[in-house]
Symmetry: C2
Subunit: 364 residues, 2 copies
């Protein structure tokens, strides 16, 4: 069992990672002294598959668990859905010793953190991420949010969990698409911070795609360590460090939005965004073509698209300027000088951005 | 113009208090560098009366003001109302340089702070309180919230404003009931922290009731200084100090709830709660009958009720145990040993609490 600390003074917490550890969750929760009544937010499929095991792990340590099922869709990340959950929680909460467990992927984690941040001006919550994307990225760092029609994650808070508990065995049930989606974020960490991990991903792609637990564990530990380090030094994305995590995401978000969240999922869009950002770095003379090629090849080896199709450049550029990271018309992009070497640039010329997007676009 | 600092490290801010200072708001805002586009949440009456003046003060300093009218009722403090405001804000916000101004009483302040805490994981907001209650209490300290059917202020955050700007002249338009409601909180500050203020309130009640600006200014400055000191040392009500501000509120909230928020408004209920808490302090041998009498007389002199009528003891006791400050069945009450001398007691015997409530209850 691995234990990584997120250092945030009074808001510090551990990330616990291991194989076949779900039965130890109760003991970890006892240490937190967060309460006795566990309000578990999850989806129907996960409850059906793991509910009994989770209940045993909690009840065995004296906790009183209660499951709240939310639909397994991005629609659960809305103000309306959050309101329904908060009201249900307020009805259930008699003891005043309630805490929340997010048992699911990114949607459940974001929603549960949002609810925890608001109920009674904040109750404790614990992330038990069940997807690779959530284990390596969204469960760590306290970014909670719901979406508006006008944009994703527009409503939320910085509100840290009390514990992140990553059971590697939960990843067994992921399908190829879910795994690939998580791998896009894994590749991101490797590019911005860890050339060793990058080489591992190049060499061991078969192990990863076959969901070999040892390979997945190494990945989750490596990425969690990187994210914990970044969040510890820049909790609220004020120091510029956390911005690095947006590598591939600015153009990626624009691709997602331009495709109306149907053409490409988050991981696919981030994969394309990373290739475009690498190509842009090359155009700006920051790095050479070999880096772009290695990144593109790695993205491809994990079953992620490397060429855009059916989404127009105009739409991407338009969506790009709606990004909530922008101030006015001034863009801000994470670029690379090589593997593990990043650079943040503002006011990158639009014609260069367009060229890099065109470069990864298939002709109609 | 008075300037009082709330010391919270990177979240520090000023409370600016004065007469005829609304025209200086723009200059104060410029110092904050909080943005250019001011989304002003207020009610129709206030906008009608002060909108033009506020617009001049802001536009004169280069700000782009926009008014958002919310109903002047506790119903505006709901998740649904907050959702509507957030969506409206997201539609209006093109520049990414938006900040929020709460121009109103406690309801507007709580709602605006709540919206500011959530939009884009937090944008800056400024309190321009227009009632005595808001100037002396609710605008300071960053407690934002909305209500649920299950209880008041159950959903919210600790999110500090960037500035509190208290224009004394805005208090001119308060009616007697609004003034009295604010005075209940003023008396609370005097009892827990400032015997000098208490004597002032005893001697100058005619000036206050006649809304003499000098008297109101002294009151707002005194109370803001006390609250700033408490919040600076106990931002999130964790150190026990902020708990002192609940003097009269535990029983007061129970009276409000038992009367279904119709029989007594917040200030009236707090007035009654302070008398009951003082009487309870006497029963516990903490203070003598003369303190109880002075407090009761002062409450009375400001037109607040000193006797309960039409709300049953059983309902009050029941509501009392739903208070969100309670852990399980353990109560926690702020009591007094004399003016300016407080004591927090847990597990106060219920029969004594009942006797103190009975003591202020008129026979049916």
């Amino acid at each position: 069992m691995h234990r990584i600390k997120v250092n945030l003074g009074p808001r510090s917490y551990d990330i616990v990672i291991g194989r076949d550890i779900l039965n130890r969750l109760g003991q970890e929760l006892l240490k937190l002294k967060a309460g006795t009544d566990a309000y578990i937010i999850t989806n129907a499929w996960l409850k059906n598959k793991y509910g009994a095991k989770l209940t045993r792990a909690l009840a065995g340590c004296g906790f009183n668990p209660h499951f709240k099922i939310v639909p397994d869709s991005e629609k659960s990340k809305s103000l309306e859905a959050a309101g329904l959950v908060i009201k249900d929680l307020a009805k259930w909460d008699k003891s005043r010793k309630v805490f929340i467990i997010a048992f699911g992927g990114g949607v459940v984690g974001d929603l549960a953190g949002f609810v925890a941040s608001l109920y009674k001006r904040g109750v404790g919550y614990v992330q038990v991420p069940t997807t690779l994307l959530a284990q390596v990225d969204s469960s760590i760092g306290g970014k909670t949010a719901v979406d508006l029609d006008m944009g994703k994650n527009l409503v939320g808070a910085f509100y840290q969990p009390r514990l992140v508990f990553s059971e590697i065995d939960l990843l067994k049930s992921l399908d190829k698409k879910q795994l690939a989606s998580g791998m896009a974020e894994v590749i991101k960490y490797a590019v911005i911070k860890d050339p060793g991990l990058f080489a591992f991903l190049e060499n061991k792609y078969k192990d990863v795609l076959n969901k070999k637990p040892a390979a997945l564990e190494k990945i989750v530990v490596s990425c969690s360590t990187i994210k914990a380090g970044i969040v510890s030094r820049d909790e609220k994305e004020a120091a510029g460090l956390r911005t690095l995590l947006n590598f591939g995401h600015t153009i990626g978000h624009a691709i997602e939005a331009a495709g109306e969240y149907k053409a490409y999922n988050h991981g696919q869009a981030v994969g394309l965004g990373m290739i475009a950002a690498s190509d842009l770095s090359r155009r700006l003379g920051l790095t050479g073509p070999e880096t772009v090629l290695r990144i593109s090849d790695l993205v491809k080896s994990y079953g992620l698209p490397v060429k855009l199709k059916g989404v127009s450049l105009e739409k991407i550029v338009k969506a790009h300027y709606r990004d909530k990271k922008f101030i006015g018309k001034e863009n801000k992009l994470v670029l690379i000088r090589g593997l593990g070497q990043t650079r943040i640039l503002r006011n990158v010329p639009l014609n260069l951005i367009k060229k890099s997007i065109q470069d990864i676009t298939l002709p109609l």
